[in-house]
């Protein structure tokens, strides 16, 4: 279900998240949406969005943080939490080790404290390049801790979601992370702390069906695939082709599930403006 959600790029390129500066790479990339040939440096400048059609290329967690928060303000928390293998699932530790090596990430989410236009936030950014951005124990724990930190510090919480859903290799324990993160959000809500959730491509399954959908304000990047069940499983179940644009950010906007579709180049200022409207994390009387 999950893998097929990830729209297969029609071009050949090193995955955005794993592309390293020191590796000589194509100078040019083709936009999969409008076929525009894009100069790689230009692409970086526009935060991996197509200058012609606005298509958002996938973005890794570290890049995203850099593009979102004030320079030098990000302090990572819980950086060294790693998964164990609770179900003794064959190959899982090896898969994790390989992914950690390839992505230079310990898990599918990076969390920390930072500032946006001088306003303090707790921020979590998921990375679809790490086992499909799936949520197992570590993602669930880091999200819960980020929420608790936002409550404790009384600062707003921002989470960028990108996930294929629950981490299959941790089975039922992954499922329970949905209740765990939502439970923590119930407390955040009670504490009157602002939570802005940002859907990026793709977010499905247990992450959409838990913390990612529960923002006070929910944003999404243009064209991002967002849904509960992946399109392939739906097609198999109902035996019909899905309508054009089904489960995109625009589709969700139309159906009332998100507040705004925000292009990546506008994201930072949009977040800053929203933060500005919520002094000290929430209502002043909260």
């Amino acid at each position: 279900m999950f893998k097929d959600l990830f729209r297969k790029p029609k071009y050949v390129t090193v995955h955005a998240d794993t592309a390293r500066k020191d590796i000589p790479e194509g100078l040019w990339q083709k936009c999969p949406e409008c076929n525009e040939i894009l100069y790689s440096k230009e692409l970086e400048k526009y935060l991996k969005t197509c200058v012609k059609c606005g298509y958002s290329f996938r973005m890794g967690a570290r890049e995203r943080i850099k593009a979102t928060v004030d320079e030098g303000t990000f302090v990572e928390i819980d950086a060294d939490l790693t998964s164990t293998n609770p179900l003794s699932f064959a190959d899982y530790p090896a898969k994790l080790a390989k992914t950690q090596e390839a992505t230079k990430l310990k898990e599918a989410i990076v969390t920390g404290e930072a500032a946006i236009e001088g306003k303090p936030v707790v921020i979590g950014v998921m990375d679809a390049g790490f086992v499909m951005g799936s949520m197992g124990s570590v993602v669930g724990e880091k999200v819960a801790r980020a929420i608790e930190r936002a409550i404790e510090r009384r600062v707003p919480l921002i989470i960028f979601a990108a996930s294929g859903g629950a981490r299959m290799q941790e089975g039922i324990i992954s499922l329970m992370q949905m209740a765990k993160t939502c439970g923590a959000l119930a407390r955040l809500h009670e504490a009157g702390i602002l939570y802005i959730s940002v859907f990026t491509d793709p977010t499905t399954g247990g992450v959409t069906a838990s913390f990612a959908s529960m923002g006070d304000i929910v944003l999404a990047e243009p064209g991002a695939v967002i849904g509960f069940t992946g399109p392939r499983v739906i097609e198999q179940t109902i035996r019909q082709t899905l309508p054009e644009g089904f489960q995109t950010a625009e589709f969700l906007l139309k159906h009332g599930f998100i507040d705004m579709v925000v292009t990546r180049t506008q994201m930072r200022e949009t977040l800053a403006a929203l933060l500005d409207l919520h002094v000290s994390g929430g209502s002043e009387n909260g």
Partner: protein, 319 residues
């Protein structure tokens, strides 16, 4: 309904047929075969114990999905008095895949909610095989909030392959409906007791199972997805569901040992469908015990424990 026999149960059936044959024969011919019959009967008992006592995970799945397995409605009829079904989510519609209402449990008004599987194909088409749409989860939440208002404990029965994967479900926000239930259930100021009675499939199951006391019937299964979906995600091959069932650790015994649930409720030998009266009695006793225990605690304590219960689930290391 015709008796549905699972493949692995056939040896038991064959032996039972043989016993019957012998008994008929002995009656007709007036030959005393009671000793032989007794030997065979002992053998059947041993066989039953060895088969049902050592079910493979896939065999558990087969029993959990057994067409004759008691459903939510059966337990409602057996365990509660004066059930009044309430309908609708007040936004869009009434989802027959979730049944809910008010009844008395040992004299006390409670709210009862459960996934509703059908008894036959016709009913299953109406009930969508127990796979709810968003309006089902919203109905459940509405009834839970109503229960909170009137200080009624909530008792839920989980029995679903999962939330329905369809166009309408996505358009109406299946994910949000589930997420909302997970969030709001954590803060409900009344005791909540959930029992997985058959299939506990994915977020669609959890959406009515964030509870203070969570139990599973012995042959129920609980998992992050159905074994078929699991196999298709990991191996791109849904026919490997049997292997998936093993790896997922989805049986009540496994789920208990992983610390996800509080209790396994023993079933009659061969499964709940072999003796509804008996399983309903055992389940009622378990519910009463859990409810009495919860009612003795201040609600703040109950809420704190509910939070900690789910908050503490996770396996990770630092470093």
């Amino acid at each position: 309904m015709a008796n549905v026999i699972l493949e692995f149960e056939k040896p038991i059936l064959e032996l039972e047929a043989k016993i019957e044959e012998l008994q008929t024969f002995s009656k007709e011919k007036e030959i005393d075969l009671s000793e032989e019959v007794q030997t065979l009967q002992k053998k059947v008992e041993t066989l039953k114990k060895s088969i049902y006592g050592n079910l493979t995970p896939w065999q558990s799945v087969m029993i959990a999905r057994h067409p004759e397995r008691p459903a939510t409605i059966d337990y409602i009829k057996m365990i509660f008095e004066g059930f009044m079904e309430l309908h609708g989510d007040r936004f869009y519609g009434d989802d027959p895949a979730i049944i809910g209402g008010i009844a008395r449990f040992k004299g006390q008004p409670v709210t009862v909610i459960g996934h509703a599987k059908g008894k036959d194909t016709k009913e299953n088409l109406v009930r969508n095989f127990g796979m709810p749409h968003p309006e089902g989860y919203r109905k459940a939440l509405r009834l839970m909030e109503q229960a909170e208002k009137f200080n009624r404990p909530i008792i839920t029965f989980v029995d679903t392959p999962g939330a329905y994967p369809g166009i309408g479900a996505e358009e109406r926000g299946e994910a949000l409906a589930i997420a909302t239930n997970l969030t709001k259930m954590m803060a409900l100021r009344v005791p909540v007791i959930a029992t997985v009675i058959g299939e506990g499939g994915s977020g669609g199951a959890l959406a009515i199972a964030v509870a203070d006391h969570v139990s599973m019937l012995e042959n129920a299964v609980y998992s992050v997805s159905s074994p078929e979906v699991f196999a298709s995600i990991l191996w791109k091959d849904s026919t490997k569901a049997q292997d998936a069932a093993v790896m997922m650790k989805m049986t009540s015994k496994d789920i208990l040992s992983l610390g996800i649930i509080d209790e396994v409720i023993p079933e009659p030998i061969g499964g709940a469908h072999k003796d509804l009266q008996k399983i309903a009695g055992t389940l009622a006793d378990s519910l009463q015990k859990a409810l009495n225990n919860l009612k003795q605690q201040p609600i703040e304590t109950v809420l704190e424990k509910r939070y900690d219960k789910f908050r503490s689930i996770g396996h990770y290391i630092s470093g």
